[in-house]
């Protein structure tokens, strides 16, 4: 999907100023002494049929956003309008019963296939669980649906009676994919679905996800900490840091023309595959600050090599770049500093031709 098409398409999900603050309770009386600001004012749209990559370090809040969208968590404030046949519905504050029909459309794919499959249940029953919960079909219909799904994710119907421990990691993740797709959702949150897998298997699962997207017209929010995985699968990338969005841009632009110093730092952390030697790297040091007491001003200023006085006092809003409206950045210096790309347009072309 090109950006132009996207602009015409309606957003399937519109998130406005989403916040999730977990209270910290302490003492005998469990008084609230503070909040973990896991997600702190995030707004973005997701368009039907696209894949949005959501990247950031551990603790940046990307998984929390995913869990808010499938409503494992209830957001503190903000709205999440999900487009249904009856028009957009704000799913942020719905209760369990009201959510049930929406849950058919939004599913989640989990990171660790060892913990996302119940060891006591047969593969067939694992995949059939969402169908059972929504009381879809008879037992026989469900069985044949599960067998079809097993074939669709490349496992084969004979896996029906296996237990998860009898499968390899990649096979287990395919079971997870089949379960997520069993009730035909339109929207899937992929929470680092390949980071627990062997590199050789990662590509297979990514290909499977890409094929299924094309086949079934799915929309993905793809959460990852590995930019090279995101580069492969995403149309757009959103970079998160400490519960806030730092930059959103089409995938290629992120790599060729990063606009936020944090994006640059993340790109620097990828080992370079193209020949041509090593650049001087700026590598992020230290840990992500505590989301209980985020730094004042720009949350990234404590680790930013370009930070100036204004960064410490004023919070930069996320706004489109004047010369490139597809890219939005939350940085005071976005127009002043020149950041090092992961590769130049020329390098990318070389890389692509060498791949082909």
């Amino acid at each position: 999907m090109t950006p132009a098409e996207k602009a015409g398409a309606d957003a399937i999900l519109e998130i406005q100023d989403l916040r999730l603050h977990f209270p910290i309770k302490a003492g005998l009386l469990k008084k609230t002494v503070g909040y973990v600001k896991a997600v702190d004012g995030v707004s973005f749209d997701v368009y039907a049929g696209e894949t949005v990559g959501l990247v950031g370090e551990s603790g940046s809040g990307k998984t929390t956003i995913g869990r808010c969208i499938v409503r494992l968590y209830k957001p503190t404030t903000g709205s999440m309008h999900f487009r249904t046949e009856a028009g957009p519905v704000d799913i942020a504050q719905l209760d369990k019963r009201e959510l049930l029909p929406i849950r058919r459309d939004i599913q989640m794919l989990f990171q660790d296939p060892n913990s996302s499959l119940n060891a006591r249940i047969r593969v067939g029953d694992i995949i059939a669980e969402p169908l059972e919960i929504h009381a879809i079909g008879t037992a026989d219909e469900r069985r044949s649906r599960v067998e079809d799904l097993l074939e669709q994710v490349g496992l084969g119907a004979e896996m029906f009676n296996r237990f998860p421990h009898q499968l390899s990691g990649g096979q287990r993740q395919r079971v997870g994919v089949a379960r997520a797709l069993s009730i035909e959702p339109r929207f899937v949150i992929c929470d680092e679905p390949v980071s627990a897998l062997d590199v050789s298997v990662q590509a297979q699962v990514l290909n499977l996800l890409a094929d299924l997207q094309e086949e079934l017209g799915l929309t993905y929010v793809f959460i990852a900490h590995d930019l090279s995985v995101v580069e492969y699968i995403s149309d757009r990338v959103m970079v998160m840091y400490l519960g806030k969005l730092m930059e959103t841009a089409p995938t290629r632009k992120i790599f060729e023309k990063p606009a936020h110093p944090y994006t640059e730092a993340l790109l620097n952390s990828i080992p370079k595959r193209a020949p041509g030697g090593h650049r001087k790297r700026f590598v992020l040091t230290g840990d992500i600050p505590s989301p209980v007491n985020p730094p004042a001003g720009c949350v990234f200023h404590t680790r930013c090599q370009y930070a100036v006085e204004i960064c410490r006092t004023e919070t930069p809003p996320l706004k489109p770049l004047p010369e490139d409206p597809e890219t939005s950045v939350a940085c005071h210096l976005a127009e002043e500093v020149t950041l090092q790309p992961y590769y130049t347009a020329e390098e990318r072309r070389n890389l692509e031709s060498s791949r082909a």
Partner: protein, 390 residues
């Protein structure tokens, strides 16, 4: 896909994981795969001590269940001529020829030692009383309904009694009393633990799943109960059982008293399990699909908790048995005419009794065996619940 029919049958896997091609189901894989349960059973069978303990416990329970048949006498059958008689030896050898002889024993004759005034027993070597199997003796009621009078073994002469583990102050056969006492001591363990499981797992699951105020109250209550020393608390509670209650009620009261402390441990175990299991991604996946709480508890929590609960419960049985023994030994547990191992040990409460009649310690041996067997069994089960570890 039709040939998948019937492949869900677990029976087609054989227990020992031997390579076996399944022709019927037409599966491609040649190595058959074991289910979690099968892995668990294999793991348990490999633990020799646990298996042995399990067999020992089955035998002990079977014997006490059919106490009337296995015991040569009833628990109240007394012979005033043979008070505190020492254990009588079962002989299989003819002393004159040295050859094998069918089992027999020499009857004991009591004689007062005029210096110490102790009753001393000597074997009457002139007489041989054959030991008979399936001998008719005192009638008894087995399993509460069957009235019968055949005993597994016993003296062929009703006038000459056989006490293979000696007798007590009133000349009652200690071996028979131990078997009858096992009915109380061993069943206290089982019933006590059943109450423990029922109360502990329900409260533990609820407080783990819902947390909040309920969890807070329950945890503080458990901490309070557990901060008392166990034995004095048991004693205080047992002392609260009204003395005019019939023995059966007292028995039930003791079971409740013992379970009163044990449920706290099991409830903590269950709570911890729920806290860990409810954060597993498969529970999140079920929640994201809109599963009800009841479904999550039934499908995801209980099956994953059951084995841990069984282990904890198994290890709680010997604690309960010891608790009952301790209370009865101190005279505040079950009351006569009921018999239990602790109550029998009460005969050995005075040091001179242990010196003069050391066989009164036999019930202790049975307690020891039962407790050790349960501990080994629990140990084997603990290994079993984690079938993937080496």
């Amino acid at each position: 896909m039709n040939n998948l029919e019937g492949s869900g049958d677990e029976r087609r896997f054989n227990l020992f994981g031997i390579r076996k091609k399944n022709i019927e189901s037409g599966l491609k894989d040649e190595y058959q795969l074991l289910t979690v349960r099968q892995l668990m059973i294999r793991k348990f069978l490999r633990n020799r001590m646990a298996l042995l303990s399990f067999i020992a416990l089955v035998i002990i329970y079977a014997v006490t269940l059919f106490a009337g048949f296995f015991a040569p006498y009833t628990a109240r059958d007394a012979d005033s001529k043979l008070t505190y008689s020492p254990p009588m030896a079962i002989r299989l050898q003819d002393p004159e020829t040295g050859h094998f002889h069918l089992p027999f024993f020499y009857p004991l004759r009591g004689k007062r030692n005029m210096e110490t005034f102790q009753l001393e027993y000597v074997e009457e070597r002139e007489e041989r009383i054959p030991i008979q199997f399936f001998v008719k003796g005192e009638p008894y009621t087995a399993l509460g309904i069957i009235v019968w009078d055949v005993h597994l073994f016993g003296s062929s002469d009703p006038a000459e009694r056989l006490h293979i583990m000696g007798s007590d102050v009133r000349g009652r056969d200690l071996f028979s009393r131990i078997i009858y006492g096992g009915q109380v001591s061993l069943s206290v363990g089982i019933f006590g633990v059943l109450i423990t499981i029922a109360v502990g797992s329900v409260i533990g699951t609820l407080s783990g799943y819902y947390g909040g105020v309920f969890d807070n109250v329950v945890q503080r209550l458990i901490e309070t109960i557990r901060s008392f020393p166990q034995l004095p608390l048991w004693m205080a509670l047992a002392a609260a059982i009204p003395p005019q209650w019939p023995p059966e009620w007292v028995y039930a009261g003791i079971v409740v008293v013992l379970a009163f402390i044990n449920w706290t441990g099991l409830s903590r175990e269950a709570r911890g399990l729920v806290l860990s299991l409810k954060e597993r991604d498969y529970v999140h996946a079920a929640e994201a699909s809109g599963a009800s709480t009841a479904r999550i508890v039934r499908v995801h929590l209980i099956p994953n908790m059951a084995s841990h609960i069984i282990v904890t419960a198994t290890l709680a049985v010997p604690v309960t048995i010891l608790g009952e023994s301790a209370l009865s030994f101190l005279g505040i547990g079950v009351r006569p005419p009921m018999v239990s191992w602790g109550l029998l040990l009460n005969d050995a409460i005075k040091i001179q009794n242990i010196v003069l009649y050391p066989w009164t310690l036999f019930p202790g041996l049975f307690i020891l065996v039962a407790v050790i067997a349960y501990n080994f069994l629990g140990d084997g089960l603990r290994d079993m619940v984690d079938p993937f570890s080496r």
